[in-house]
């Protein structure tokens, strides 16, 4: 009895114990204050960040959320109305929470360090990425596809069909059902279907995931896969399963078929499958007899970090997972242009990121060398394609369906459709069967479906509501209200780093004289490089000012990126537009849609920011736009004053035409004649002349290296004026316009370009300036750096060792120069500049400088950049020029053909006059100022040098 009284209940124990917590008051205060400080400081800081960002962007004006509209008495009277309100609320709550988790600063601040610990050292991985052995990384859904239950297991199908939520539609889980329907739809139009599930990495390399598979030869597959094949076979659906082929081909670790840190295959694995699929297609004999279309393949090395490594969100400078280098084979058409899909082809290819990798530049593994290109080259036939990253179970079929419903009949003339998707889609994908492939005529452009080429011609006039004004290819600015918008997935939760969102824009108003459109479907970047863009925060009801560029113009470029489409099928019949983002890299847009300063940008609004630019000047794109703006103004000023020298900061002088060359955008192709200074528009485009020169040399067995010297203003933008003094090249921004894109174009045409821009940027701050401050030429230091870099590459050539070498000597001297810009400026009060030059001499002959050697296997061709500090006289010095330093680095002198004028055509004409077919030459280094691409008045003529 006594004992019973003493025994306290849990509640009494609790009260007694808590009332007797032994803690000093001071310590208690410390604990409480630290706790409260933590939980209050985070939202306060977040609020400050959000407000600053909002103030900077002034993005949108909200007209209120539609949840209030749904709460009208009529809606609330019925159970269905209440459930609808509840579903809307739930969706809003879910989106809010996701947004909060995505944007809170603490996550971004802590992630890299913690991921270094958890994943880098302890191999914990994260929700998307699993760590394998050594450098290997695996994508979680790929692993779960294998370890999970069979995707055709009735219980699995039932569970998946009941998943989702009150506001989320459950998936259609049965792939066989969807494929059968797809086959039937295609069958109605006499089109054969081949299904190609691409194996996942752990199927081919399980030993790189778990050491237990070392030496094992098991074929790993999902429990339902054999049943899946059997059912397809029963239904008469052809399936090309590359897994056995890849397993058989799996050899040593030097010839990997899958990338170690990426979800996808290597070019080797891809080519293997493309070849086998081509054989399979030939054996099917469904295509008409046609002569082979010849394609050329150009090899190129690409280095990149895999997508799974990026999903880990490790610090930028992490060294746990290394970049991988692969050799891709770009497919070129007979005319030297990169491979393009052909809407008239007999084959239509639907694919996902396994087809996009090596094809879509945004994936970082090169372009024009993807699965479809390779298949096309293997078949010797053109192919049309619809390729979208991720969601292969539905995305491409949906786009095909939408194209058909819009009237752009992508299936016209097709005999074969290849449907490629990652095998994991069988267990994770949504195999919807709500797609209609019946072509609808008369929907596009107000009734002329024929006017639209499926892969990208502009529709011309006829946009819904148009009053007959031609739609400009570079778009026009409108203001409207967002009616509905798609959500962008959280960065890192999906296997792609870029994503386009779409919204329905209504109540559109534009300037008089512009095309009239009442409403439109607008696509814009929602995620770039695993970062949400400002557009991701847009929501229904907001008013925005946007530039509308017809989607057909940019579809080739952006159509393969993952795109979140609006669910409302009635929007299919609206014209689609692209909203060019200021954040787009310049190379991302075609010439005529370059987002230079005059473009409205995402985030600009109808009110408060009339110039359409975001005040946030820290972004790369903002820097670029400001840079071009300022340069345009300076060029105008100089041209009005009929001057060609601009006095920059701290005594730096800039050449007017050089500044102009950085503002012209694309200077090749159709725009060449418009922007070039060439007297004869016929010679405005540099591309054909360079390609022609390269072809001539190639025939003679001579290599050509094109070495354009970057414009001074692109390397030292901060010296132009005070407004640009904050600009930096250190953040990766390229200020030299579209040169990189042009170089890529040259490379894809088989021309080797040595791009000096990265080299100069890397060495910009570790010594004397790379250019003369008061002259149009480069400095002795830039010459030395370039010579060393080129020599490094020359030394790798086979013939180099056979050339006799000479040991030269270097000596350093300072000289004062009277630069051409100093003279042009006519300001005698400006102190002349002094340069420190390294002079090369031959100790044997005692000569100061290295004489040109006509018999040298290396010919240096170009403009005065090859003469400055080399020939003395008005070019300042002798023995310290580019030919001298190249000789010093190579160990032998070079042959020189350089002119004081343009290195574009006159230098080659001199070469032609030699009439020796460049006998004995192994290499021509063509070095000239990059401004000449648009600024030479001589133009770019084809010059017959090799006869």
């Amino acid at each position: 009895m006594t004992q019973k009284k003493i025994k306290l209940s849990r509640e009494e124990q609790a009260k007694r114990e808590v009332g007797r917590t032994e803690i000093s008051r001071r310590l208690a205060l410390v604990l409480v204050v630290a706790f409260l400080f933590t939980i209050y400081s985070v939202p306060v800081i977040q609020q400050v960040i959000d407000r600053r960002k909002a103030a900077a962007n002034q993005t949108v004006q909200s007209t209120g959320e539609s949840i209030l509209d749904s709460m009208k008495p009529a809606g609330m009277m019925s159970l269905q109305g209440l459930m609808s309100i509840n579903a809307t609320l739930l969706k809003r709550i879910s989106l809010y929470q996701e947004h909060l988790d995505d944007t809170i600063f603490l996550t971004r601040a802590l992630n890299p360090a913690l991921q270094s610990l958890v994943t880098g050292w302890l191999k914990g991985g994260n929700e998307q990425a699993y760590c394998g052995l050594g450098q290997w990384l695996f994508y979680r859904p790929d692993v779960e596809y294998l370890t999970g239950r069979g995707f055709l297991d009735p219980q699995v199908l039932e569970d998946r069909s009941k998943s989702g939520g009150e506001w989320q539609t459950p998936p259609q889980p049965d792939p066989v059902k969807a494929l059968k329907q797809f086959r039937d739809q295609l069958g109605e139009r006499n089109i054969e279907l081949i299904v190609m599930p691409v194996p996942s990495k752990p199927m081919i390399y399980p030993d790189k995931y778990s050491a237990r598979y070392e030496g094992a030869t098991e074929r790993l597959q999902n429990a339902s896969f054999d049943d899946f094949l059997h059912r397809l076979d029963t239904e008469g659906i052809a399936c090309f399963d590359p897994a056995p082929l890849l397993l058989k081909a799996r050899g040593d670790d030097k010839n990997l078929l899958y990338l170690q840190c990426d979800t996808h295959w290597t070019p080797l694995g891809m080519r293997l499958v493309a070849g086998a699929l081509a054989d399979h297609i030939r054996a099917m004999k469904v295509l008409s007899d046609q002569p082979d279309v010849p394609y050329r393949q150009v090899t190129m090395e690409i280095t990149n970090l895999g997508d799974i490594a990026k999903m880990l969100k490790l610090p930028e400078d992490q060294d746990f997972y290394q970049q991988e280098t692969v050799t891709i084979e770009k497919v070129m058409q007979r005319d030297g242009q990169p491979w393009r899909p052909d809407p008239n082809a007999e084959i239509l290819f639907l694919g996902d990121s396994f087809s996009n990798i090596y094809s879509l530049d945004g994936m970082g593994w090169g372009e024009c060398a993807g699965f479809v290109e390779t298949l096309s080259a293997n078949l010797g036939r053109p192919v049309d394609r619809i390729v979208i990253n991720d969601n292969g179970s539905y995305a491409t079929r949906r786009i095909l369906s939408r194209e058909e419903r819009r009237g752009a009949d992508r299936l016209a003339g097709k005999r074969l459709l290849i449907y490629e998707f990652a095998v994991r889609e069988l267990s994770k994908g949504d195999w919807k069967t709500d797609l209609d492939l019946t072509p609808v005529t008369g929907m596009i452009g107000g009734g002329d479906a024929e006017a639209i080429a499926p892969s990208g011609k502009i529709a011309g006039s006829g946009t819904q509501g148009n009053t007959g004004v031609e739609i400009p290819a570079d778009g026009w600015i409108v203001t409207g209200t967002i009616e509905a918008i798609t959500k962008v997935p959280s960065p890192g939760t999906v296997p792609y780093k870029d994503c386009i969102l779409s919204f329905h824009l209504t109540g559109i108003q534009s300037d008089p004289g512009s095309p009239v459109v009442d409403e439109a479907l607008v696509y814009v970047w929602g995620m770039r490089e695993n970062q949400l863009t400002d557009n991701a925060t847009l929501s229904p009801g907001q008013s925005v000012t946007v530039r509308l560029v017809p989607w057909d113009v940019v579809q080739d470029r952006y159509g393969s990126y993952n795109r979140q489409e609006l669910d409302d099928d009635s929007l299919l019949f609206l014209d689609a537009y692209w909203w060019p983002s200021e954040g787009d890299k310049k190379m991302d847009l075609p010439a005529d849609t370059q987002p230079v300063a005059d473009l409205a940008t995402p985030g600009s609004v109808a009110s408060g920011n009339p110039d359409g630019k975001t005040p946030e000047s820290s972004t790369k794109s903002d820097s670029l736009v400001t840079f071009i703006d300022v340069l345009k103004r300076i060029v105008d000023e100089l041209e009005t004053a009929q001057k060609n020298t601009w006095q920059g900061r701290d005594g730096w002088l800039f050449f007017g035409p050089e500044l102009r060359s950085l503002t012209v955008g694309h200077f090749w192709g159709e725009r060449a004649a418009e922007v070039s200074r060439a007297m004869n528009p016929k010679y405005a485009d540099p591309l054909p002349a360079i390609v022609d020169f390269n072809e001539q040399l190639k025939k003679a067995g001579i290599d050509l290296w094109v070495v354009p010297v970057p414009q001074k203003a692109s390397i030292y933008p901060e010296m132009i004026n005070d407004q640009l003094s904050e600009l930096t090249t250190g953040d990766g921004t390229r200020y030299d316009g579209n040169l990189r894109e042009f170089y890529d174009l040259l490379k894809s045409s088989g021309v080797r370009v040595v791009d000096l821009y990265p080299l100069f940027v890397a060495h910009k701050t570790d010594g004397a300036p790379l250019y003369c401050c008061q002259d149009t030429h480069w400095s002795g230091r830039a010459i030395k750096l370039t010579a060393r870099e080129l020599a490094r590459q020359v030394k790798a050539l086979g013939w180099y060792d056979s050339v006799p070498k000479t040991q030269y000597q270097l000596s350093q001297r300072d000289i004062e120069i009277t630069g051409d810009l100093w003279k042009s400026l006519g300001n005698d009060s400006l102190v002349k500049e002094t340069l420190s030059l390294a002079f090369v001499s031959d100790p044997a002959s005692g000569d100061n400088g290295v004489p040109d050697w006509r018999e040298s296997p290396v010919l240096l061709l170009g403009d005065s950049h090859n003469l400055v500090f080399h020939i003395g006289q008005d070019l300042f010095a002798k023995g310290a020029g580019f030919p001298d330093h190249l000789a010093n680095e190579l160990g032998f002198a070079v042959d020189l053909e350089a002119v004081r004028g343009s290195g574009a055509t006159p230098a080659r004409i001199n070469l032609m006059r030699r009439k020796d077919n460049l006998a004995g030459k192994k290499l021509v280094i063509w070095c000239f100022t990059a401004r000449d691409f648009s600024e030479t008045t001589d133009g770019w003529r084809n010059v017959p040098i090799i006869r």
Partner: protein, 484 residues
């Protein structure tokens, strides 16, 4: 809303504390109720109507049992114990219990009932008799917890253990209090009645609350989540090796313990911050040397509720040995069903019920009572772990398959070894080992925070910050007891 989220720690809690401490004391319960409804409605807004309806019924029934009308202002008195109740009092109690059990039965067991019926008629070859409803019932969050809590109120009032409450806000606050609303501990009315009238708010109490929350969050984020990942990987796989199956089952044992006890710690901590003292819910259960002892240490608020409101009314041990065994088994089966509507929970409850009855025959001790204590602890843990397989597995077939893997009855397929690629990474091995060490060697939160000196305070804060940091960067954050 879950405790271990940025939304809770950086938005909801700061705002709730700010409002709670800034407004006059008389409005504190109203504020707490409003915040609790927001907390609850965050998971699904229409559930708040259910919560409110249940609260309203029990409030009215409580007053009716006391002979009062909800709209009158007469004094509420404590009913005398042992005195027969009038008919209207019995009806009021019946309405309260029937309402709560109906809610629980409909929302929790409707789908199960339909599925079981369909399975039965299919087995009997009468497929045409299947009842296919066009809808599926969504389980309201925490309904098992707050219906039990509400019922305890009317029963306590009826028994004369507590006075009915006149102030509706106070009662709504008791039913909906966000710290323990969705996952317990189940706080019976008589445990909290006094505190609803008077409670103190001291810095020491608040500080201990912070310590509870810090350690609770650490248990959840640093131990339960990684162990959960191991368990999920093993249980979701179509096949696992024997070793991996045991590893996964033990990991699940740690996950559910650290997950649930962490939530209880955080609930207790939050209660302390608001001036409430909730009783202990876990008492180092994996140190138990028998299943009987396990139930004296595991989920104490539920086991005490079942004891007081089910086992004892059924006759407890007062009606002979056989009836005692039956009562024990019945209570455990119903306890199993309380957790979820599936045969797995029935089997889980039955295992424990049979073990309890068996041990009762042994004099409330285990059959292995003569073994050394560490072995007794180990064997008890293994039995509990095996029973957890039914708790965790997706369905009965999956549970049997998993047990087949654990005991080597099945030959795992080729993909089984793939599971090992993740679960034996250093991160998971370290977290699993830490969980084991803390389970058997570390003091429990109550003991650790009884005396808070400088190093302990520093440790609590370090754990809090580290857990927050990990929580912010890891998206894997399941919470097991939310589904019950």
């Amino acid at each position: 809303m879950v405790f271990s989220s940025a939304l809770f720690f950086f938005y909801f809690l700061p705002l709730a504390l700010l409002v709670y401490y800034l407004i006059p004391r008389r409005l504190q319960h109203l504020a707490l109720t409003v915040f609790s409804y927001i907390f609850y409605g965050w998971a699904n807004p229409y559930f708040v109507f259910l919560l409110f309806g249940s609260t309203l019924v029990d409030y009215a029934c409580g007053l009716t049992i006391c002979g009062q009308r909800p709209w009158s202002s007469g004094e509420v008195v404590l009913l005398e114990k042992g005195v027969p109740r009038r008919r209207n009092q019995k009806i009021a109690l019946f309405i309260s219990i029937a309402t709560n059990l109906s809610l629980l039965g409909f929302f929790k067991y409707f789908n199960f009932g339909i599925d079981s019926f369909n399975a039965l008629v299919t087995t009997l070859g009468a497929d045409s008799m299947q009842w296919n409803t066009f809808f599926r019932i969504t389980l309201p969050l925490g309904i098992s917890f707050y219906t039990f809590q509400s019922m305890s109120y009317t029963i306590d009032v009826y028994r004369g253990d507590a006075k009915a409450i006149r102030n509706f806000t106070d009662f709504a606050c008791y039913v909906s209090m966000f710290p323990q609303l969705v996952a317990g501990p189940i706080v019976r009315f008589h445990e909290l009645a006094d505190q609803l009238q008077v409670r103190d708010h001291t810095v020491e109490k608040f500080a201990r609350g912070v310590a509870f929350i810090s350690l609770g969050l650490a248990k959840k984020v640093l131990l339960a989540n990684p162990c959960g990942k191991i368990a999920d990987t093993c249980f979701d796989a179509i096949d696992v090796t024997t070793l991996d199956a045991w590893y996964g089952a033990f990991a699940y044992g740690f996950q559910i313990y650290f997950d649930f006890s962490a939530y209880s710690d955080m609930a207790i901590g939050l209660g302390l911050m608001l001036g409430f003292v909730f009783p202990k819910n876990f008492d180092s259960p994996y140190l138990s040397q028998s299943i009987t002892e396990f139930w004296q240490r595991w989920h104490l608020s539920l086991s005490h509720w079942l004891r007081d409101y089910l086992y004892i009314p059924l006759g407890g041990n007062r009606k002979g040995e056989q009836r005692t065994y039956v009562n024990l088994a019945t209570v455990m089966v119903l306890g199993g069903l309380w957790h979820g509507a599936s045969w797995n929970f029935v089997i889980w409850g039955s295992i424990h019920g049979v073990m309890l009855a068996f041990e009762r025959m042994q004099g409330k001790d285990s059959i292995y009572r003569r073994l050394p204590a560490p072995l007794r602890i180990a064997i008890t843990f293994v039995i509990v772990t095996i029973a957890w397989v039914f708790f965790r597995a997706r369905d009965l077939g999956a549970a049997m398959h998993y047990l087949g893997n654990m005991f080597g009855f099945l030959h795992p397929g080729d993909v089984a070894a793939l599971v090992g690629g993740l679960i034996y990474q250093p991160y998971f091995l370290i977290c699993f080992s830490l969980a084991a060490l803390i389970t058997w060697l570390a003091p429990q939160t109550w003991d650790l925070t009884r005396r808070l000196n400088g190093p302990k305070v520093a440790w609590c804060l370090a754990m809090f910050w580290l857990s927050l940091a990990i929580m912010m960067t890891q998206s894997y954050n399941p919470f097991i007891y939310f589904i019950f």
